[in-house]
């Protein structure tokens, strides 16, 4: 009877609370739900939160946040809730006004510690608030947090917040995010399929992530293939799955006995040595797997050790089961749509990657072109091997570095560095031509060695002056960052600048060689020095200027390369072989040939890297092998001069 009365009373009090008019301020809600707030349960706290949200006042957000962060305290004496401030005794702060309303000792207060489940409920409730917060930064933060960790219960508040979103850009983001969430957590199959199909036109990483989430599979094993599961793939043992892997799956599903690893057999045998014998086999003979198996089987028969799993056991166990992958998502329609969307996305991503690769190749080609074009002039036009060409590149880069020490403005310093680097290396080139190379014009192999001597001397000098650590050459601010086309395709501005620089040089060189008096004289001296001399051209002067020009361009290339890589004393050596390859591959004595060589090397290297992304070393190796083979078929390079003029 008493029990009944209690039950009745409870029922009344429930109905009373239901009937009661909605409380209209925070204090009232807190009073009403004091017990739930003090000891919240995950399943019931929703009611409190609903009431709080219904208030819609700004302090509610604050309250939820503090509550979630375990910053809410209750005064034991009267059950009032406060935030606390600094100091001892502790300042009590009113939850509504935010004013200090009194003080209390630590012992008088109880800190409220909602559990993880409750805090999650509070969190998503807050998101809802934040999504409609008047402050746009808060709204953006809320969208960011959803994007970072999408959850099913965020979908409804997100959708609800969209119609009233004032900011157009944010609204678009919200809609897009809602689409992503719908694809994963939408209520009906139709909703989800529609959302997935809408996303299939995109190629961003988060869309791919969503599709992959939907298509998450787990491996499973059974005697027969289950009919009511959303099966992704049935594995064929031997092709998709090795027998050992299949058996390991059986073991982890408790469908088969664990294999005894060799170590364990060894340990077990060692533990059971009995007077120089194990299971009847002399210890000294236990140096083959077969003998060990015999001994172990004998031990297993007497029950000392768990039985050995034989090959036959493994085969039959594997054969009597099917191995398959099953989608965690049960809805076939959804997974089908997601698969289709993903394959469409993959195609588009592939196309965009190809474009990205092309841009990468183009930029690498421009770097090689810049590095090699100076060499193409000295080697190609004059037939002089300059092993110190790489060191001229390095000198150019260090010139840039030194200029930046004196001129802090990066834009200005680069503008000063480019002509200065040209001047410095032009001077060095002319000096080298006058002092060394002109004595060796008819001994090309010795030119190679002498310039190599200069190369090691210059490299060591740079090391002595600038030290071994890499020096920075900082690009101007407006060259920072990248031109981003979409999630897949982007190219940094520096690379674009290098590309443009390469184009400028191509144009300039073509102009100098084909349209100017100097170019005419250079070509004349190249083709027939004796005849040129008899026509009043001074071959000495022309050789000197040509060599200077080639070296000067190396200096400018050095500044460009320094901007994109680090400046070290060894940077030249990194480019010298590639540069020679570029010139030889392209065809000697021809600017277009160098362009063709640089493009081929650049694109090919990027292409090989794409097939084997982890390994740039391998890419370079195969690249060089390719060049060696290519020269077999076109010994004179891509753009070859034909006929008797080419000489032998």
């Amino acid at each position: 009877m008493r029990f009944l009365a209690l039950f009745f009373a409870a029922a009344i009090s429930l109905s009373v609370s239901g009937v009661q008019a909605q409380p209209t301020d925070l204090k009232a809600v807190l009073e009403l739900h004091a017990e739930q707030i003090e000891r919240p349960k995950r399943l019931q706290v929703g009611e409190v939160v609903e009431d709080l949200i219904a208030l819609g006042t700004p302090e509610v957000t604050e309250f939820l946040q503090r509550w979630q962060n375990r910053e809410l305290h209750m005064r034991e004496a009267d059950g009032q809730f406060f935030y606390v401030g600094e100091g001892t005794p502790i300042e009590l702060i009113d939850v509504v006004s935010g004013q200090v309303v009194g003080t209390a000792e630590d012992s008088e207060l109880k800190q409220l510690r909602p559990n993880a489940g409750v805090r999650r409920v509070l969190g998503s409730a807050m998101v809802q608030f934040q999504l409609s917060d008047p402050n746009i930064l808060r709204r953006v933060a809320a969208v960011d947090s959803i994007a970072r960790r999408p959850q099913a219960d965020q979908l409804a508040p997100l959708l609800a917040s969209i119609p009233n979103e004032p900011d157009a850009a944010l609204k678009e983001r919200k809609e897009r995010l809602a689409g992503l969430l719908t694809a994963r957590f939408g209520e009906t199959t139709e909703d989800r399929v529609a959302a997935i199909e809408a996303l299939s036109g995109e190629l961003s990483l988060d869309v791919q992530a969503v599709m992959n989430q939907i298509l998450t599979t787990r491996d499973a094993v059974a005697v027969t293939l289950p009919e009511n599961e959303n099966i992704a793939e049935v594995y064929e043992v031997g092709t998709d799955l090795s027998t050992a892997e299949a058996y390991a799956q059986l073991v982890s599903a408790d469908l088969a006995l664990a294999l005894i690893p060799n170590d364990a057999i060894r340990t077990a045998l060692a533990a059971n040595i009995d007077g120089g014998f194990v299971g009847g086999v002399p210890v000294a003979q236990l140096n083959t797997d077969a003998a060990r198996a015999t001994a172990y089987t004998a031990l297993a028969e007497v029950g000392t050790v768990p039985p050995l799993v034989t090959e036959a056991d493994i085969t039959s166990a594997v054969q009597s089961h099917v191995f398959y992958a099953v989608y965690t998502e049960p809805d076939v329609a959804v997974t089908d749509a997601a698969n289709e969307a993903l394959s469409e996305i993959t195609t588009r991503v592939g196309m965009n990657q190809a474009l990205d690769l092309t841009l990468d190749g183009l930029s690498l080609a421009s770097i090689y072109f810049l590095a090699a074009i100076g060499l193409a002039i000295t080697f190609g036009v004059m037939g002089v091997i300059n092993m110190a060409h790489g060191e001229f590149i390095m000198m150019g880069a260090y010139t840039g570095y030194v200029v930046q020490l004196f001129i802090p403005d990066y834009t200005l310093s680069i503008l000063v560095a480019l002509p200065l680097a040209f001047a410095v290396t032009f001077g060095a080139g002319v000096a080298m031509e006058r002092l060394v190379i002109r004595w060796l014009y008819h001994r090309p192999l010795e030119t190679l060695l002498a310039t190599f001597g200069i190369s090691i001397a210059l490299q060591q000098l740079a090391k002595n002056i600038f030290g071994t650590q890499a020096r920075p050459l900082t690009s101007p601010g407006w060259l920072d960052g990248a031109w981003v086309l979409n999630d897949v395709v982007s190219i940094s501005y520096i690379r674009i600048a290098i590309f443009i620089l390469a184009l400028i040089f191509l144009g300039l060189l073509l102009f100098i060689l084909n349209k100017t008096r100097l170019g005419l004289e250079v070509r004349a001296v190249t083709q027939n020095p004796g005849m040129a001399a008899s026509m009043g051209i001074n071959p000495d002067r022309i050789n000197m200027l040509t060599f200077g020009l080639g070296s000067g361009i190396a200096g400018i290339a050095g500044v460009a390369i320094g901007l994109y890589a680090k400046v070290t004393s060894e940077m030249g050596a990194d480019y010298i072989v590639q540069s020679f390859m570029t010139v030889v591959l392209g065809g000697v004595g021809n600017v277009w040939g160098t362009l063709a060589g640089a493009s081929l090397i650049g694109f090919l290297q990027k292409g090989i890297e794409w097939f084997n992304p982890a390994n740039t070393l391998a890419a370079q190796t195969y690249m060089i092998l390719f060049i060696i083979l290519f020269i077999q078929f076109r010994p004179k390079g891509i753009v070859a001069l034909k006929g008797r003029a080419a000489g032998d």
Binding site: L448, L449, G453, A457, I624
Partner: protein, 388 residues
């Protein structure tokens, strides 16, 4: 025939005599067999220098006599080192693994031993499997064959491709340099099967000879290197004398004229290129057990260029010139870089030779090329015979 060959080339006899006296002197001064005036590490340096002289002689034949400035012979040297290093490392690790496994109660199986060796050797590159190229590493005989075969075959294939397409002069140099770079880059990879940039190490420990001590072993290798240098010198002196020498030098001076005389120039170049590559491989196989470690940096193109530098400084086209150049420059280099040379205070700046040696080498190299194209050997010629 052999006797008359020596008679026709008295310089070979003189060289062998000098080498024998040098070897005897070092032996007398060694710790293991003599009065102990030379440290073991210096004996190793001398032994290594002999190996460098051998490869320099090979380089001289291919460049000084045949006119092919190969910038790849140090790659063959390195390959020889790797080939012998594989056996040294395998056999040495096998000893250690077998010893440690034998301490267990149960004797190890063959597979356990192999797995143990694999883990020991390839642990540093995160693997324990033996790559295919280690298939013969358990056998000293087969691996010694590899010392000859690997550089020989590479030279044969590469040379065939290059000479066939009539790549000559500077182009050929660049092509050989590219080959060297490709090989070095390949070896730098962890999955090359030769431990990436860790290379092979502990090569100074000769399996089965631990009880002898490094002092004795270093002398054995010193003798072996001296014998190899002597034999190589005689071999190359024989090849470069007589009609073969005539044809080879003819190819250097005017390739197409030799061709129109009916000689298949490519075969001759291939013969010289491959033979010298094989000798370079043998030199490397003797060098690296004395050095103790080999890694891909040793193969980098710059090493081959240094080789050319030695030969040029010593004097091209003379076998003893190559020996002098290699010995002189490499010993001088280790004296300067090892801190042996006194630094020069200039008041405002002190020249530390560890920093400035390469500058000196580079500049003197330019000077030699410009002013003494015949190198030290040329000077020698001038002193010994007034009329060349």
């Amino acid at each position: 025939m052999e006797r008359s060959f020596i008679m026709r080339n008295p310089s070979v006899l003189w060289f062998l005599l000098a080498l024998a006296i040098f070897t005897l002197g070092v032996t007398i001064l060694s710790e293991a067999f003599g009065i102990g005036g030379l440290s073991t590490s210096f004996i190793k340096t001398l032994g290594k220098t002999l190996c460098l002289c051998l490869i320099a002689v090979a380089m001289d034949v291919v460049w000084g006599y045949c006119g092919i400035l190969s910038l790849g012979h140090f790659a063959f040297f390195g390959l020889g080192g790797y080939a012998i290093g594989m056996w040294l490392m395998y056999a040495r690790t096998e000893e250690i693994v077998v010893n440690s496994l034998n301490e267990g109660a149960i004797p190890p199986t063959q597979q356990e031993i192999i797995d143990g060796i694999g883990t020991q050797i390839f642990g540093v590159v995160g693997s324990s499997e033996f790559p295919l190229i280690w298939a013969f590493s358990h056998s000293l005989g087969l691996q010694l064959l590899m010392v000859v075969l690997v550089p020989g075959l590479l030279a044969l294939v590469f040379g065939w491709l290059a000479f066939r397409s009539r790549v000559t002069g500077v182009y050929l140099s660049i092509l050989t340099q590219a080959m060297t770079l490709a090989l070095a880059l390949y070896l730098f990879q962890n999955d090359s099967g030769l431990r990436g940039n860790n290379g092979l190490s502990g090569l100074q420990n000769i399996p089965g000879l631990d009880h002898l001590g490094q002092a004795t072993i270093s002398m054995w290798f010193f003798w072996a290197s001296a014998i190899a240098l002597g034999a190589g010198y005689v071999l190359f002196a024989w090849v470069t004398s007589g009609k073969m020498g005539s044809v080879i030098r003819g190819i250097r001076d005017d390739e197409s004229r030799v061709r129109f005389l009916g000689y298949h120039v490519e075969s001759y170049k291939l013969f010289v290129f491959t033979l010298t590559a094989v000798v370079a491989g043998i030199a490397g196989a003797l060098y690296y057990p004395q050095a103790g470690i080999i890694n891909p940096a040793e193969i980098a193109p710059i090493a081959s260029i240094y080789l050319a530098v030695w030969v040029a400084i010593g004097g091209r086209g003379r076998l003893y010139g190559a020996v002098i150049g290699a010995a002189f420059v490499s010993l001088l280099s280790s004296w300067f870089t090892g801190g042996g040379a006194p630094s020069i205070p200039l008041g405002f700046y002190t020249i530390q030779w560890t920093d400035w040696w390469l500058v000196l080498l580079g500049v003197s190299f330019v000077a030699v090329t410009l002013f003494f194209p015949k190198g030290i050997g040329g000077l020698f010629d001038y002193l010994v015979r007034k009329d060349p």
